[in-house]
C-alpha cells in the first residue's frame, strides 16, 4: 500500500499535533486528566495467555527495567491432577523469551499466569514505608518517589506478591507503575499494548463505560492471595486453585 505524497502532507502535521497532545502535561494540571475521575486496575484473562513473553519485553523496553529484575513476569504452571498444593512452576528469565515447548501427551494441566504489581487499595508496602516514598495515588496506582526512597527494602519484604525489587544501580525500590506516564495520557500500559491475545487489559473501575464492569458481571474472577486482604486490583479470570 502506498500513501501518496499529498496524502502524507495532510496526515503528517495532523499526526504531529495529535502526538504533541499525547506527550503534553502533568496530570493534576491537565484539563484532560483528573485523578479523582479514575480508579485503575488490570484484568488478566488466564485462558487467553499464551506465554509469549511480549508483555515482559515491552515493559522492559518502556520502563528501562534492569536485567534480572522484573516489573512484570509470566509463570507457567503445571498442575498434576488434584495436587493443588504443589504445582510445578517455572519462569525462565521471567518468561521474557517465552517458555520451552511442552510435548503433547503430558499429564495434568498447564497454563500461564502473568504477574505484576496488584496496585493494592490497602497496600501493605505503603503501610511500612518509613518516609512516605511509596504511596497510593488518588487514582489508585501505587507509585514510588525514587528521589525520596532510602532503599531500606522494607517495602520489598512487605509485598506478598514479590513484585518489588531494589534497583541495582539507582539503589531505590522499583516496581510496576501501571505505566502511569501512559495511562494519564489516554494510552494503555505497555504490557497491554503488546499483548497479542488480549489476556491483559487495563481497567478503569470508575469509568462506567469500561468493559471491565460487564466482564466482572459475567465471569468468575479472583485476586491473588485474597487472605492477605490487600485490596488487590489485578483481577484474574480463570485462576486455578494451585496458583501461588
Amino acid at each position: 500500500m502506498n500513501i501518496s505524497r499529498r496524502h502524507l502532507l495532510i496526515l503528517l502535521p495532523a499526526a504531529a499535533v495529535a502526538w504533541k497532545h499525547v506527550l503534553a502535561g502533568t496530570p493534576e494540571d491537565s484539563p484532560n486528566y483528573q485523578m479523582s475521575e479514575h480508579w485503575w486496575g488490570m484484568l488478566i484473562d488466564i485462558p487467553k495467555c499464551i506465554g509469549c513473553g511480549n508483555c515482559v519485553r515491552a515493559c522492559q523496553t518502556e520502563n528501562d527495567v534492569p536485567d534480572g529484575f522484573f516489573r512484570t513476569w509470566v509463570e507457567r504452571y503445571h498442575r498434576t491432577d488434584w495436587h493443588l498444593e504443589n504445582p510445578e512452576v517455572i519462569s525462565p528469565d521471567g518468561g521474557k523469551e517465552g517458555f520451552p515447548v511442552v510435548q503433547a501427551g503430558e499429564e495434568g494441566k498447564f497454563f500461564f499466569v502473568p504477574k505484576m504489581c496488584n496496585h493494592c487499595a490497602d497496600s501493605p508496602c505503603t503501610q511500612v514505608c518509613p518516609v512516605g516514598a511509596t504511596f497510593v495515588t488518588p487514582d489508585g496506582v501505587v507509585l514510588i518517589d525514587q528521589t525520596y526512597c532510602l532503599g531500606c527494602a522494607y517495602c520489598v519484604q512487605a509485598c506478598p506478591y514479590g513484585c518489588r525489587y531494589i534497583h541495582p544501580t539507582k539503589k531505590v525500590a522499583d516496581k510496576c507503575t501501571l505505566c502511569y506516564h501512559r495511562i494519564t495520557k489516554g494510552l494503555t500500559t505497555a504490557c497491554c499494548e503488546a499483548c497479542p491475545t488480549g489476556a491483559r487489559q487495563l481497567a478503569d473501575l470508575k469509568n462506567p463505560n469500561d468493559p471491565i464492569h460487564e466482564f466482572l458481571k459475567t465471569h468468575t474472577v479472583q485476586v491473588l492471595k485474597p487472605q492477605m486482604a490487600t485490596g488487590a486490583k489485578a483481577f484474574y479470570n480463570g485462576l486455578d486453585g494451585s496458583v501461588r
Partner: protein, 165 residues
C-alpha cells in the same frame, strides 16, 4: 518551693532538649519538600514527575493515524486485536519523527514462532504449529499476510508491506 534551688542543672539539661527540638523544627521547615502532604503522606510533585516520563510505545491509535490502509486490512482479519507494536516493537520515536526514524522489518522466523510454536502448555484452540513441519523453513510471509494472516481472507501475500513512503 526551696527545692528548686539545687535543680538548675536539670533545667540546663532540659534546655538542651528544647534547643535541639527548636533547631530540628527550623531545619525541618527548610528540608521537607514543599509539596509533601499535598495528597497524602508523600511528595505530591512526584506524581507529576512520574507521569511526565517519556513514552516509548506510541500506541496503536497513533500508528493508525497514518497507516490507515494497514489498519483497514487488520480489522477484518485474525490479527485484528494484535496491536502494531506487539510485532513491530516500540515506535514512539518513529511517530515523533516519521521520516528520520524508520523501523526495521521484523524477522518473521523469530517473531511468528514466538506465539505460534505449538506447545501443549498453550490454550487449546489457539492457532499453533510446529514451525519445521509446517513450512519446512520457508518464511512465514510467503503464504501469510501478517496483517491478515488467515490464507484467503485478504488480498494475498504481496500486501504485507505497508510503510509510508
Amino acid at each position: 518551693m526551696s527545692g528548686l534551688k539545687d535543680t538548675g542543672h536539670l533545667f540546663r539539661f532540659a534546655g538542651l532538649f528544647v534547643l535541639a527540638f527548636l533547631v530540628f523544627l527550623v531545619v525541618r521547615s527548610y528540608v521537607v519538600p514543599k509539596t509533601f502532604g499535598e495528597y497524602g503522606h508523600y511528595r505530591g510533585a512526584a506524581i507529576g514527575e512520574i507521569a511526565s516520563r517519556p513514552v516509548k510505545f506510541a500506541g496503536h491509535q497513533t500508528c493508525e493515524t497514518c497507516h490507515t490502509d494497514i489498519a483497514d486490512t487488520k480489522t477484518k482479519g485474525a490479527h485484528a486485536h494484535v496491536n502494531c507494536e506487539a510485532c513491530h516493537g516500540a515506535l514512539a520515536a518513529h511517530a515523533d519523527d516519521p521520516t528520520s526514524v524508520t523501523p526495521a522489518k521484523p524477522d518473521t522466523a523469530v517473531l511468528c514462532a514466538r506465539c505460534h510454536t505449538a506447545s501443549a502448555a498453550k490454550p487449546v484452540g489457539f492457532p499453533q504449529v510446529d514451525p519445521a513441519d509446517h513450512s519446512g523453513g520457508v518464511p512465514c510471509e510467503t503464504c501469510h499476510n501478517p496483517h491478515s494472516p488467515v490464507i484467503g481472507s485478504d488480498s494475498g501475500a504481496s500486501t504485507a508491506k505497508g510503510g509510508a513512503k
